[in-house]
């Protein structure tokens, strides 16, 4: 398992840490108990409507995100993918409908319940969003300091393990401004999983990454999901990467879910809108041209 890697390294150096063992024993048993009782649907979005600045972004959307799987939410830019993640995290509230995360109705939760729910979510923002006034180490340590009463050495051990799992243990002392785009995203991932969340949301993790960084991120996301049984929501418009790792796909377009199914179902879909998105045709149900008056008339117009 991914965190065992850290164990083995320590073991070889005869520095096996019982503190860390204890930490994970507690964590695994908690997760084990929860698993028995909870449902198969982790996030349940029902009849969601949401508008911003007078424009409807979601109109009566219903979708479900299964537990322990990687769900890819795909759709063109501006369709509201980031907004969906914010709705799940309770940063914005729906105009109508409900968003239920692990049995908690986000819109009706009290401040305390909401913060409690967020503790079990990790979010990887589009820009990484590392805190620019802290080093990589401090960034990853912050949630641990805030939520646990572990002592300094223990926090240090855990931070180093998280950084090791994203391959950035050597970059612990660097400031975010000194990292490349791919490294920043991996460091942010280490921070997102610092508290071993049940749900990790990735906002366009592949956007603007070189092929190697993309490959690394794909592998990390898969490894995390498999090893720790984390529910993953992957928001992306990178078709190939997303379809290759997702267990479940939701395609959004024009404020609606136009398809929800396995990657195979998406690939074999004959829906024009799906085909246009997958193949990247300029014209189709989604027009290439922004609505405009007749081209010829506008050119001939004199005033």
């Amino acid at each position: 398992m991914w965190f065992i890697e850290g164990f083995q390294d320590l073991h070889e150096r005869n520095e096996f840490s019982w503190r860390i063992f204890y930490y994970y024993a507690v964590l695994v048993s908690i997760r084990f108990c929860y698993r028995e009782s909870s449902v198969e649907v982790y996030i349940d979005v029902k009849n969601l409507s949401f508008s911003r600045g007078g424009r409807a972004i979601y109109d009566d959307v219903t979708l479900q995100i299964p537990k322990g799987k990687i769900t890819a939410v795909m759709g063109p830019s501006g369709v509201g993918k980031t907004t969906l993640l914010r709705l799940i995290g309770g940063q914005v509230m729906p105009n109508s409908g409900t968003v239920t995360v692990d049995g908690v109705n986000i819109a009706q939760a009290s401040r305390k319940e909401l913060f409690e729910a967020r503790r079990r979510m990790g979010m990887l923002f589009q820009s990484g969003a590392l805190f620019s006034d802290m080093s990589v180490f401090e960034n990853v340590a912050l949630p641990l300091q805030e939520y646990t009463d572990f002592d300094k050495t223990m926090i240090r051990d855990i931070v180093l393990m998280k950084l090791q799992s994203v391959g950035l243990r050597g970059a612990a002392h660097l400031m975010p401004s000194e990292l490349s785009g791919g490294m920043a995203r991996r460091a942010a991932l280490a921070r997102a999983i610092a508290l071993d969340p049940d749900l990790v949301m990735y906002d366009e993790p592949f956007a603007g990454q070189d092929p190697i960084s993309k490959g690394v991120l794909v592998e990390l996301i898969q490894r995390l999901n498999r090893a720790a049984n984390i529910t993953s929501v992957l928001v992306s418009h990178d078709v190939e990467e997303s379809l290759s790792i997702a267990d479940h796909v939701c395609l959004l377009s024009g404020g609606k879910v136009i398809l929800s199914g396995t990657p195979e179902e998406v690939r074999s879909s004959t829906d024009e809108r799906v085909v246009q998105f997958l193949q990247g045709h300029a014209d189709g149900p989604v027009a290439f041209h922004y609505p405009a008056p007749e081209y010829r008339e506008q050119l001939l117009e004199r005033n």
Partner: protein
């Protein structure tokens, strides 16, 4: 008709944002830190970037304003043969008026704009959202230390400004213009009182500090998270902060020194 409507909309908008920023101020100041050690560390760091880094501009401006005041005061007072009163003139002008007001204006330009830009950029790069998603209150973690640091630093900066101004004015009037040093200090000692002059100056700069820092952090917090929006918010901080200082100065002066 349209004018009246616009006017009402403007007043309505103003009152609305006043209310929102009031709630914002209240929430930032009264959400106590959970871990005090961390909170103090954050506060000290802000004292450094808001206060210590403003020292240079405050000291240099204080010195120049003191020197100019001494020259101007001397040229007027000498025609009445009372050039030794230049000490009194310097101390009262600086402590009562120029210290708090000019420090406030400089502070709005130097520290206020930096605060707005910093917080706006944190918003644009999703750092504030990131705190929220971590379940850490950004008001408590980001806004409160900046507010407190600004509010505590500015009265001290205003005092430093006045002290430097008096010292520089003394250099000009005593060492250059030849005012007798004894009477320079004596005229000051006779006419400056702690509870009316010095305390009123401190109260003024405290009020200005609350206004400027409040405007600065609020503008950063609510700005449009784009480069254009941050630029506009920064400008607004400086303009609104400066106007607030001048307006409040009139009100405070009328309240403090208005009853003859």
């Amino acid at each position: 008709m349209g004018l009246v409507k616009n006017l009402f909309a403007g007043v309505y908008g103003f009152i609305e944002s006043l209310g929102q920023s009031g709630i914002f101020l209240f929430q930032s100041l009264f959400r106590l830190p959970i871990r005090w050690g961390e909170a103090i560390r954050l506060y000290v760091r802000q004292v450094y970037s808001v206060g210590v880094l403003s020292l240079i501009i405050i000291i240099v401006s204080g010195a120049f304003i003191g020197m100019v005041l001494a020259l101007q005061g001397y040229s007027i007072l000498t025609s009445y043969g009372s050039e030794s009163a230049v000490g009194q003139l310097l101390a009262l002008t600086l402590l009562r008026e120029l210290g708090p007001v000019v420090t406030g204006l400089l502070f709005a330009g130097r520290a206020g704009s930096a605060l707005t830009a910093e917080i706006g950029l944190m918003k644009a790069t999703e750092q504030l959202s990131s705190y929220e998603m971590m379940g850490i209150d950004p008001l408590r973690r980001v806004i409160a230390p900046r507010l407190l640091a600004g509010i505590t630093c500015m009265p001290i900066l205003a005092l430093i400004f006045s002290a430097v101004g008096i010292w520089a004015g003394m250099m000009v009037s005593v060492n250059w213009l030849g005012v007798y040093e004894g009477s320079f200090w004596a005229s000051m000692q006779q006419s400056v009182f702690f509870d009316t002059d010095i305390m009123n100056g401190i109260i003024k700069s405290f009020v200005f500090a609350i206004a400027v820092v409040w405007i600065a952090v609020y503008q950063g917090y609510v700005c449009q998270p784009t480069s254009e929006g941050i630029g506009r918010a920064t400008t607004r901080t400086v303009v609104m902060g400066s106007l607030a200082i001048l307006g409040l100065d009139f009100l405070l002066t009328a309240a403090m020194f208005g009853d003859f």
